[in-house]
């Protein structure tokens, strides 16, 4: 696995800061932005590619955590998340960020917003019976 390039690390940094700004709680938002900045600054002189890859992987995991937690933060946002839509758009999507221009598209990533429950963020394997249903349909 090739080590992450400088561009990838910077992209990750920007993505993390962008996601952190969406926390609605003041303390979480300021902590996340500050910690991310300090952590990337602290590690900017690391040269060992293996260590760099470990740090990048950890950062990716933390980015996932921030994404999920931003949705949990504002209870209304729980019901709406960006999803790549295969096929037709979902019915009755709700835009819950006031001030957004288009009610159907997310301002950040441009994908269609769909209704999502918290359990979608922490998905698990299907049950055995769900595999058996497929051949019938």
């Amino acid at each position: 696995m090739a080590a992450s390039s400088r561009a990838q690390v910077l992209d990750l940094y920007r993505a993390m800061l962008r996601e952190s700004k969406r926390f609605s709680a003041y303390n979480y938002r300021t902590y996340a932005i500050r910690r991310i900045r300090d952590a990337f600054r602290e590690n900017k002189n690391v040269k060992d590619p293996v260590e760099i890859q470990t740090l990048v992987n950890k950062a990716r995991r933390d980015l996932g955590i921030i994404r999920r937690q931003c949705l949990n933060d504002h209870p209304k946002q729980l019901n709406s998340a960006c999803a790549a839509v295969e096929g037709e758009a979902a019915e009755a999507p709700l835009c819950l960020l006031p001030g957004t221009a288009h009610p159907l598209l997310c301002p950040d990533c441009g994908r269609t917003r769909v209704k999502v429950h918290i359990s979608h963020l922490y998905s698990t394997d299907k049950l055995v019976i769900e595999n058996q249903e497929k051949p019938r349909t």
Binding site: S24, A32, R35, I65, I66, L97, I118, L121, Y122
Partner: protein, 429 residues
Amino acid sequence: MLLRAGWRRAALFVTVAPGPRPTVPSRGLRLSVVDDAPQSAVPTDAAAAPEAEVGLRPLYMDVQATTPLDPRVLDAMLPYLINYYGNPHSRTHAYGWESEAAMEHARQGVARFYKSRKKHVITTQTEHKCVLDSCRSLEAEGFRVTYLPVQKSGIIELKELEAAIQPDTSLVSVMTVNNEIGVKQPIAEIGQICSSRKVYFHTDAAQAVGKIPLDVNDMKIDLMSISGHKIYGPKGVGAIYIRRRPRVRVEPLQSGGGQERGMRSGTVPTPLVVGLGAACEVAQQEMEYDHKRISKLADQLIQKIMKSLPNVVMNGDPEQHYPGCINLSFAYVEGESLLMALKDVALSSGSACTSASLEPSYVLRAIGTDEDLAHSSIRFGIGRFTTEEEVDYTVEKCVQHVKRLREMSPLWEMVQDGIDLKSIKWTQH
């Protein structure tokens, strides 16, 4: 005409922003209407702090009472509340196995602090009882309890401890970091004394775990108490470390199903335990960074307050001190009135469990502060999520209100005129 119609139509579509005041009585803490946009409830980073408006929440500076849940901890807990809901004691199916695996993994996380191979951790739901109350009930059962006095700095005298150990002493219990004044006791030395005299050593490390390095082997600790909600973990869970070699025999408080090797019966709450493990793991990683930041903020707070106000006393030893817990006494100002004046900052004087009573804190009395200074003490708590802006705002408001309250105080007037308050003979009618 067209313009007016346009305005009316526009007015219909405008969402009612802060909205009508909530009519439900909310106990003095006004909550913002649910329809609000997710804006920060506290003055933004860039702007200077305005007056607190209706519907905004106060700043949180009471981390010794409890801490907010770290988002990483919540993220670790949620799968066990949503999908992986098995009972960890079910041995016969995958739901139980995965739950048990999570519980054991969390145990490793908690045990991580100890750097020792002698791990024996029990997870339990600890109710918050003052150790003193427990000692009092032990006395009722027939034990003898010696309450060691502390010096003015809040640290116990080691020679007194040595002198107090008798042939039938079974347990020494000393708090690692005090929750009211933040004083760190010399745990390593105490552990040394206890192990040489073959006495069990228990320490209540609720405020210290994850904040200062603790090694149970170096410090010769036999029993250690940990509280989940003091280290940015969930409320309702705690742990006790019980040393295995040399074996510490413990009798169960809760008997029944025989869980946790018979020491604490009852189903182990997997989501809470996973949260505790995650909190300890995060704390281990962040300890150095947090300690540096908190020390810096604490220094700033103390320097600014001391510079702007005279007659401020910091309770507790300045050297052996955990920086995140600052207890200041403002002379000639009543503590409760200052707390009420600082209504946009969540502070406390003394500990949460004694805040209902009107007595001054027994800790301050034990370190020998005067009665009037004990009544005017405030505890500032700085934690992982506290920002510099919050500290600045708190300092500003504190200085402003102390000055205002002192203006109103006749005692302060007398002091300004040079009268020594101790020399006054108050008349009795």
